[in-house]
Amino acid sequence: MAKMNLAKAVKDFWYGKPHTAEEGGRRLGDLYEDKTGLLKHREWRGVKDTFYYMYNIWGYNYVHMVLDILKYSNNPIDFLKGTLRYRWMGQTYLPVIHWFERGLQGMRGEALAASAWHYRAMVSASIHQICNFFNADTRLHGGKQNNAYKHTFYANETTCGTLFYPWMDAGYQYIPMEMIPYFVTCHVNSHTVLNYIDAVQSLGLPGDPCPMCQAESGLFVLDDVPDSAPLIITCNEACDASVSTHTLQDWFANKPLFALPLPMQFDDPLVKKYCMNEIEECWKFIEEQTGVPFSWESMKKRLERQNKLQRDEWEKWEVASKTDYYPINGVAQALFRIYSTQYGIQGDFWEEASEKVKKIMYKCVEKKINPFPQTRHRVIAWSCAPLYYSNWCTWAYNCWGLNVIINMDSLMFDMEIRTDSYENMLEDMATYHMWAPMRRMAVGGMHHIFELWDYMKRFNCDMVAMYDQLQCKGMQGVHGLFEDEFRKRNINAFWMPHALPDCRTVSRAEIRRQINDYMTTVMHEEPLDPSLLDFDDSMTW
């Protein structure tokens, strides 16, 4: 008996403990300090993966976070000043690695390596943006509008970066105003954003509009957006609240502003010409403001890189849909996709990560390695995800074997943009912008949101995780029809209530409880790791 125990201990040490309870599992939930979400000690993933995590992920990323600052910042002192000036910066820079921990918990081998590369690219892109912010911020330069300021475009975060490619050869940068202060910080530290939501509500805004838009407005109310650009481009993605947010932002920012409205009924062939004209109007505005003409070469060069990235994604989706060898977990897949498409081609971090991930993926295909061997259900996640719990997919796999293969937001922007002529490019740009995140499925006719059934088939999924963003009027407006269709089609689907960035409305524990209830009472399944069923992480980042 003792010999057997010793053999098991040696095996556990070398390979890490097995996943399931039946095999004497690893009980990841026992690692948590109550309430804090902090770990009592690091997870032992076996010799190879533990050291891989330590050196290739933990150490590598900390070192590169410093190197990236040196690479992208004009003056590292500005970075320090910005960290002290802006709440969203000071509260999120150090917990980044904990964000890695949450997303990569329990991952092994190829899944660990591939998912981490996606995270790495996002960190690098974030530092790139932060440095662009601080390089140009008049508040950090004694009110002076320096050269970086004059070469920066501001846009609201749902305006796609593709729009600004024509000026990048001339040294211009595009910064989505709220992407770092709001979107990225939500993932890293879920508490930071609450302050901004409260700020705008203190002006009298009711609590029911989309909390993402509330937070975006709150940043301006608290004067917590750097003053880094002389102009702003806004657009009407993705909803009524988003349009209204710009009205409020305009009053606070008080800069020349161009509104780029995109048609709602995008299936209608008659709207395309209108949309193309609007895009050209936007470019004209930029030309007038900067005095720098539109550059076709600059545009084309970056669009071709972007198209390559899109083809890479299609390759990944092909493997994900047809095999069990796709090595990227749900959260890494989703965040990489939405971040890279929205920010566009600035720097080479997306392409580098994509190449590395593809290499790992093809290794899995060739050697028939299943990176998620405990998969019980292939899940498609639909609607918009809780930003404060984007890593729920990691938990769901570890606890229940729910493997999130694809999600709705990843399927936006699902096209290449032709570069053979200006006319074709413009036509595709119109479609591309109308297919933006939270827009492609949510507007332009109810049938788009019910494309879920086609995507379930395409990605070979047998279960739906239905995000239930409580303050999204568009998605709330199809709630009953989804219920009807799930029943009629006999589809396994669970609802996940949440409030996008606001963890006070529905806690992470409540989200887990809803899934647990569904898995036990409807699916009659036992958890793979019972220690993860119930724990309190309310105070964690």
Binding site: C210, D268, V271
Partner: protein, 403 residues
């Protein structure tokens, strides 16, 4: 003041969407065309052979089945419309001219639309074999590109379907004649409404709200004689000797088709002298002008974009001009303050209300009462308290200023 001769009749017409005049319009062989938003030009739906009905759901306080479909977190107005549709209250409609101008009403209209798709079942909510629903894409700007786009959309998604389905004459000549008829309604409503500008107005906000609503909810050719008679009656109407209000206000904000809400405001001492809200008369009763050489459809497209004060308009100059327009209205109607009311869950007006509350007070010195309301809420004691406090604050301000 002496009661208006047709007021009770008008009030009765507002008790249900399928009212007596709508029934008569249908019996005359006309098609009833529903719509919800100002951006759907009612004048196009009033072409000979059809008539416009701006949808309302009076008395719908508990939209239970609609709440299953739209959830309890979507605006009460959209839920009430769906509930009324599910009850069969809109089966008289022959078509719905949809707009994706706000998410909630868009979802309502998508529910009643027959989709003919594999992805989601048709609900056949409107039990009428002729019924169809089309959507028109509405621009967010006042630019040449927007006017062209809107004109194209109106032709493709309003005029042509009306012609194809019901054989409606959509020629320029007929459009011009319909614009004339529409403008007569506008002229009469404005004539009646202008009495609110008097020092001691001879019409209350409630009465005007009722009159404006019947002009939206009934066939124009049937309501016109009553409007003409009312306009005549107004010429000799005497005000009460003693003013029975304590201050005058502009009522602005989101969707409001409940005259009892106006009555509630007025019962607190604030006379509503101007109605700048969805379903109000400020924009919708500006006559349409067709310039020389301009096609009538183009004139209509321009008119509805130029006259709208919807917070949906995105350009910087539009966003800022809206505040000035509101301040100008207060001046024109000699109002002492502005009440900004947004429907609960209305995202556009939630934000607009916040900004208006600050800007109008700070930049124009106009007192503002900012409230959030439900679709049907005449019995709200809380609102009564808010309005009373607002009236008192205006009175105190006037005393302090020595007026």
């Amino acid at each position: 003041m002496k009661d208006l001769k047709h007021l009770i009749f008008f009030e009765k017409l507002l008790q249900e969407a399928n009212n007596d005049l709508v029934k008569q319009g249908k019996a005359d062989g006309n098609r009833a065309i529903g719509y919800t938003c100002y951006f759907m030009p009612e004048v196009l739906l009033d072409l000979p052979g059809c008539f416009s009905v701006r949808l309302r759901a009076p008395g719908c306080t508990s939209p239970d089945i609609a709440t299953y479909y739209l959830s309890g977190r979507v605006c009460h107005y959209a839920r009430s419309l769906l509930e009324r549709a599910l009850e069969g209250g809109y089966n008289f409609l022959d078509a719905q001219m949809g707009t994706e101008t706000c998410t909630a009403t868009c979802r309502f209209q998508e529910h009643i639309q027959q989709k003919h798709l594999d992805s989601v079942d048709d609900m056949r909510i409107i039990d009428n074999d002729d019924f169809f629903c089309t959507f028109t894409d509405i621009p967010f700007k006042n630019t040449e590109n927007s006017y062209q786009h809107f004109e194209t959309q109106l032709r493709a998604h309003v005029l042509e379907p009306l012609h194809e389905h019901f054989g409606i004459d959509i020629s320029d000549e007929t459009l011009l004649k319909t614009i004339e008829d529409h403008n007569e309604v506008c002229r009469l409503i404005n004539e009646i409404g202008d009495y609110r500008k008097l020092d001691n107005p001879t019409i209350t906000g409630y009465e005007f709200h009722v009159i404006q609503l019947v002009s939206l909810a009934c066939p124009k050719y049937l309501i016109l004689p009553y409007l003409r008679e009312t306009a005549e009656e107004m010429k000799t109407r005497e005000p009460d000797q003693k003013k029975n209000f304590r201050c005058k206000v502009v009522l602005a904000g989101s969707e409001n088709d409940d005259p009892d809400f106006t009555k509630l405001v007025e019962s607190c001492g604030a006379l509503v002298v101007c109605d700048r809200f969805c379903y109000g008369a400020v924009e919708s009763r500006i006559p349409i002008e067709v310039k020389e050489g301009q096609s009538p459809l183009r004139a209509i497209a321009e008119h509805y974009l130029k006259t709208s004060n919807c917070p949906r308009f995105m350009p910087q100059d539009e966003m800022r001009a809206r505040k000035k327009r509101l301040a100008d209205l207060a001046k024109e109607y000699h109002a002492d303050g502005i009440i900004i009311a947004s429907n609960k869950f209305c995202e556009y007006w939630s934000y607009e209300r916040v900004i208006d509350t600050f800007i109008l007070k700070r930049d124009y010195g106009i007192p503002v009462c900012s409230i959030e309301k439900e679709y049907i809420n005449s019995a709200s004691g809380q609102l009564r308290t808010r309005f009373q406090a607002f009236v008192e604050s205006i009175e105190i301000k006037q005393i302090q200023e020595g007026n």
